[in-house]
């Protein structure tokens, strides 16, 4: 427990750093002096705090969504962006852009969620048909499925000249997050709590359908709950800040290396690491080209794919 508090304190420190990084002058001194008609306070409230909260909520939510998916698919290399979930949410976004452009954000999120749910369910359905469940085959199937779904999206986006708008929507970026444009992410926080409460069920479900049934749990119900959580989290994040690749894969894997697969025990760690990882990457993205920004999707993509490869190769070595 002590170590967890230490980690949480580290993340809080990062959050503190995040609050004081940006183009405007926001510092303790400028906050106290109230210079410039209290502009520092205004920026802090309208821009910095919302952005930092959005980062923490998205990071926690996606990391836990990844963990749940890994339990449900019984594979370490599955997460929303390697299982077609993110791509399906993107297809949902396109449908919104084409047919219901004027509905409020919550409606957009619901449409994207329905698509994410359908896509994830399709992925798990395909997995059940594949007799050979090699560690690498499962995420490959997911990435291929995601490729097919995003090619459909691209085709229609291209036809309707929405390619670039969709690209902007989908690429993860916190630069325009401010008060009033991130609050949907609190839904992800609520889902994280639900995931925590149901953690034991997911741990059991991760041991397989027969095992789950033997313990008197309804496997299908656990799967459905997990799917709904994953889809809603993915959709809220995609709709509000865009997709952040690999996050749901790296964080649960690192935590699992540290402390095994008991989900009740690992969930707080996953939440803390998820938030910390995205915070660190966003801070880097804000500093490298200051005062311009590198979108979080790009930073996490670069760092994340390197760690992903490391995990893959390391695993091969262990079993090879």
């Amino acid at each position: 427990m002590g170590r967890l508090f230490l980690a949480a304190a580290g993340v809080l420190a990062l959050a503190g750093v995040s609050l004081f990084i940006g183009v405007s002058d926001v510092s303790i001194a400028s906050l106290i002096s109230g210079a410039n008609d209290g502009r520092a306070t205004m920026i802090l409230l309208l821009s910095r705090i919302p952005r930092t909260l959005a980062i923490i909520l998205a990071g926690m939510g996606l990391a836990i969504a990844g963990m749940i998916m890994q339990m449900l698919a019984r594979n370490r290399f599955v997460e929303p962006s390697t299982a077609g979930t993110t791509e399906s949410a993107g297809l949902g976004m396109l449908v919104v852009l084409l047919f219901f452009p004027d509905i409020p954000l919550i409606g957009k999120m619901l449409v994207a969620s329905v698509f994410a749910l359908a896509g994830t369910a399709l992925f798990l359905r395909i997995l059940r048909e594949i007799p050979l469940r090699s560690v690498l085959l499962v995420p490959l199937v997911g990435i291929m499925l995601g490729g097919i779904i995003s090619s459909i999206t691209t085709f229609f986006a291209y036809r309707f000249e929405l390619l670039q708008s969709l690209g902007n929507w989908q690429s993860g970026d916190f630069s325009t997050v401010m008060s009033g444009r991130y609050e949907l992410l609190w839904i992800a926080a609520g889902l994280t709590v639900i995931a925590w409460l149901a953690a034991d069920r997911f741990t059991v479900a991760g041991m397989g359908e027969d095992f789950t049934t033997n313990l008197g749990l309804n496997h299908r119900n656990v799967m459905t709950l997990g799917l709904i959580i994953v889809s809603l989290v993915s959709a809220t994040v995609v709709v509000t800040v865009g997709s952040i690749p690999f996050l749901g894969l790296i964080v649960p894997n690192v935590v699992s290396l540290m402390m095994g697969d008991n989900m009740r025990r690992s969930i707080p760690w996953i939440a803390v690491f998820g938030a910390g990882f995205v915070l660190a990457c966003d801070i880097v993205g804000r500093l490298v080209r200051f005062p311009y920004e590198i979108p979080i999707g790009t930073v996490v993509g670069i760092v994340g794919s390197a760690i992903f490869l490391y995990l893959l190769l390391r695993r091969e070595a262990r079993y090879g």
């Binding site: 940006g22 183009v23 405007s24 502009r39 205004m42 920026i43 309208l46 821009s47 852009l97 084409l98 452009p101 004027d102 309707f160 000249e161 929405l162 670039q164 708008s165 969709l166 690209g167 902007n168 929507w169 970026d173 630069s175 325009t176 401010m178 008060s179 009033g180 444009r181 080209r289 005062p291 311009y292 920004e293 590198i294 979108p295």
Partner: protein, 312 residues
């Protein structure tokens, strides 16, 4: 997205070579016309009658000098070109419908910018001319491209007259610009904001119209630099020129329209917002048509009118 730039040297040689070749063929319109352009040299058997253009800037210029275009891409057309909504569609801005173009056998095909990468394929089908303009020398290259068109179709006088009008208005804007404060050019797409500076895609507003940039060093990236609302507040330009990119491609309702994205408490603190000096530039002219002679004139007039210059 691949965008080709023509270079100055080539542009200059093209103009010279064209002048030379036209001198040889002058007075005999049925004779061959050799046009040097951004990707080489194309020989036309005579004044083309069936004209295809994948570049709306070219359509815009031809329309302004009274030349009919018989095939255009399927894209957003500005009000002034609305009649082209019903003209034969020969592909998208980026990709031709090769079978259709082949079946139709036009006398000449014009490509530029977005379509310049398909020049090799199209030139196998029919004589093709690449009229790409250069963003770093925008008005000048537009004028040169227009002169090329004028010479192909024997409309030199019309082109010269239009250029004189544009030049007069550019001069008016240049005269007014230094006294109105500085400006930042941004585009908004899918809820995100990008900034552009001198030398970039929209940099001609600074470089050629003389509007003082609020920051000098924005990278000349094709799609600008991602910035936050805080960035806008801190650079705090006197004028904010806004391109609503989603509106340009006809998806205004789809993404978040720029006005909605900018209508927030941070932007409200900017002096440009408070002084009502946020200018939403015509998205179709600035983003889609971009390099046409008439569009150039309209853009100059829009910017000039906004800052109170004596235009038109």
């Amino acid at each position: 997205m691949i965008v080709h730039f023509s270079n100055h040297f080539r542009t200059a040689t093209a103009a010279l070579a064209l002048a030379a070749s036209l001198a040889l063929t002058a007075g005999a319109s049925a004779q061959e016309i050799t046009v040097e352009h951004a990707q080489g040299e194309t020989t036309l058997p005579g004044v083309p009658e069936k004209v295809f253009a994948f570049d709306i800037a070219t359509v815009d210029t031809l329309n302004a000098i009274g030349v009919e275009v018989d095939g255009v891409p399927d894209a957003s057309f500005p009000e002034s070109l609305s009649r082209y909504a019903d003209v034969m569609k020969i592909g998208s801005l980026f990709e031709p419908d090769y079978e259709l173009v082949n079946a139709e056998q036009p006398d000449v095909i014009f490509v530029a910018g977005r379509s310049s990468s398909v020049y090799p394929q199209l030139s196998e089908i029919a004589p093709t001319v690449d009229l790409s303009v250069d963003w770093t020398d925008f008005p000048t290259t537009i004028k040169q491209r227009s002169e090329t068109l004028g010479e192909i179709f024997g409309k030199q006088a019309e082109v010269a007259e239009l250029i004189a009008e544009v030049d007069a208005d550019i001069a008016s804007v240049q005269a007014q610009a230094p006294s109105v404060g500085n400006a930042l050019f941004i585009s908004v797409s899918g809820g995100r904001v990008s900034a552009y500076g001198p030398g970039s895609r929209f940099g001609w507003v600074h470089d050629d119209l003389g509007i003082v940039p609020v920051i000098e060093d924005v990278e000349a990236a094709t799609h600008g630099e991602a910035v936050s609302f805080e960035f806008l507040l801190e650079t705090n330009p006197d004028w904010l020129f806004v391109l609503d990119r989603d509106a340009a491609v006809g998806a205004a309702e789809g993404g978040q329209p720029a006005a909605q994205v900018l209508d927030n408490e941070i932007v409200h603190q900017m002096s440009a917002w408070q002084n009502d000096q946020v200018v939403y530039v015509d998205p179709v002219n600035f983003y889609i048509v971009n390099g046409g002679l008439n569009a150039l004139h309209e853009m100059v007039v829009q910017v000039g009118t906004a800052i109170g210059a004596d235009v038109e």
